[in-house]
Symmetry: C2
Amino acid sequence: MRAEEKPGFRRLPLFREMMTQTFDSLMQIAYSQNFPPRMDLIQQGEYADFLHILVEGAVELRATWNGHESVMGIVRPVSTFILAACVCDAPYLMSARTLERSRIVMIPAADLRAALRRDPDFAVAAMRELGVGYRTFVRHAKNLKLRNSRERLAAYILQQSQLANGVVSMVLPMEKRHLASYLGMTPENLSRTVKALRADGVRFQGTQVIITDPARLMALAATDSLIDGPDPENIAS
Amino acid sequence: MRAEEKPGFRRLPLFREMMTQTFDSLMQIAYSQNFPPRMDLIQQGEYADFLHILVEGAVELRATWNGHESVMGIVRPVSTFILAACVCDAPYLMSARTLERSRIVMIPAADLRAALRRDPDFAVAAMRELGVGYRTFVRHAKNLKLRNSRERLAAYILQQSQLANGVVSMVLPMEKRHLASYLGMTPENLSRTVKALRADGVRFQGTQVIITDPARLMALAATDSLIDGPDPENIAS
DNA sequence: CACACTAATTGATTTTTATCAATTATAAGA
DNA sequence: TCTTATAATTGATAAAAATCAATTAGTGTG
């Protein structure tokens, strides 16, 4: 754990309000590590030894069953992952691997649980983090069940645009086959859907996406904050 | 809040380890209420005023978008629902309504948050509850993305059988069209899938389900604890 | 019991999505 | 730069699932 990183962590929502003593003792134990791209971090079914906090880079959450595989989510800094497995002391439901070179801080699950029991403010912050994760998956399930694949792709593009302050042009943050899997479709189907969306206000040029008619695209996606987010930031505590 | 109910609550995982003082003050504030079947409790998009704890009966979580609707989950006693919205102070992502006559205890969200901040053991128990909810939705999403509708139905039947200690005969706990929606299919599709499953070891007789060939059904469903549960019970704290 | 109402089923059809096979594009390494 | 490997696209087809329409079954009520 590099000393110069500590002040940055202290400012994260998860650590901001905890007691200095708890924070210092966790920082003593935690260690941060760099991982290369495409590095497996966690296998589904294993037990949680460490809470992972992604500080830099990107991590993909994947699930497999019976020879099938699916991208379940993308984690971006700064967020924890596998917090639920740590708290429940239960096996991971998903595997995790880096997409890019990533910096990850790891806290032993036992120490995490001890700190939670010792420091109510930390516990509340961790709950909020977990609550956000819960809501992310409710949204994912709603998206899958209520929208068809064209609508999901349209909503995804608008969501990405929103995250980048409403730009009309951007590059896809991952390979198309991964995006397809995340959106619950095959690469072939994504490819065709992309072409079909030209009539609805989007053009693709390689990995570049250009929204040519935002209004039209929004009409198709019927963007809804209860599916696409974001949650309102919690100003009050 | 009826006095004779208190000891029962005290034994619930959520309340078992909290301080007596916190428990008593919450019980002072909380009130329990009976609701008739098909009663709307919560509308998606509203803000969380009360944590709901289902003590008796059954509650359905539903989501709507753009004229479409889907059953996202069934809550059975004793569990909380909408804990995440309370903790995050964010709007509900799903609506809730009773399926049967239900007894529900309600705790004002502000008091809940105060109690969490005051009592670390309570916060840890609440986190665990939230963690279970998170994992439920990860499982739901995995089920939708990795299995087709026949496999989902087969897995559902086996799961219900398991919950009832491995019986080979049971009654569906909800209407078929609700089950269809929960499993992400149309009622017509469910009806046909039911018929198709006869070749795989299940018979339906009205609302009665009979597993005629468990091995065969399990081969089809490829039951997996990382999708179908259950989580191992957390004996240790 | 008859009535009305809703749920469930069935058949015919369309739409959506997946699969398979082949080709083209893109990127990384020698 | 050429080579090789992988990703993306395209076309043809099949499978899965949704939709629409009609009928049958089931439920609760007066």
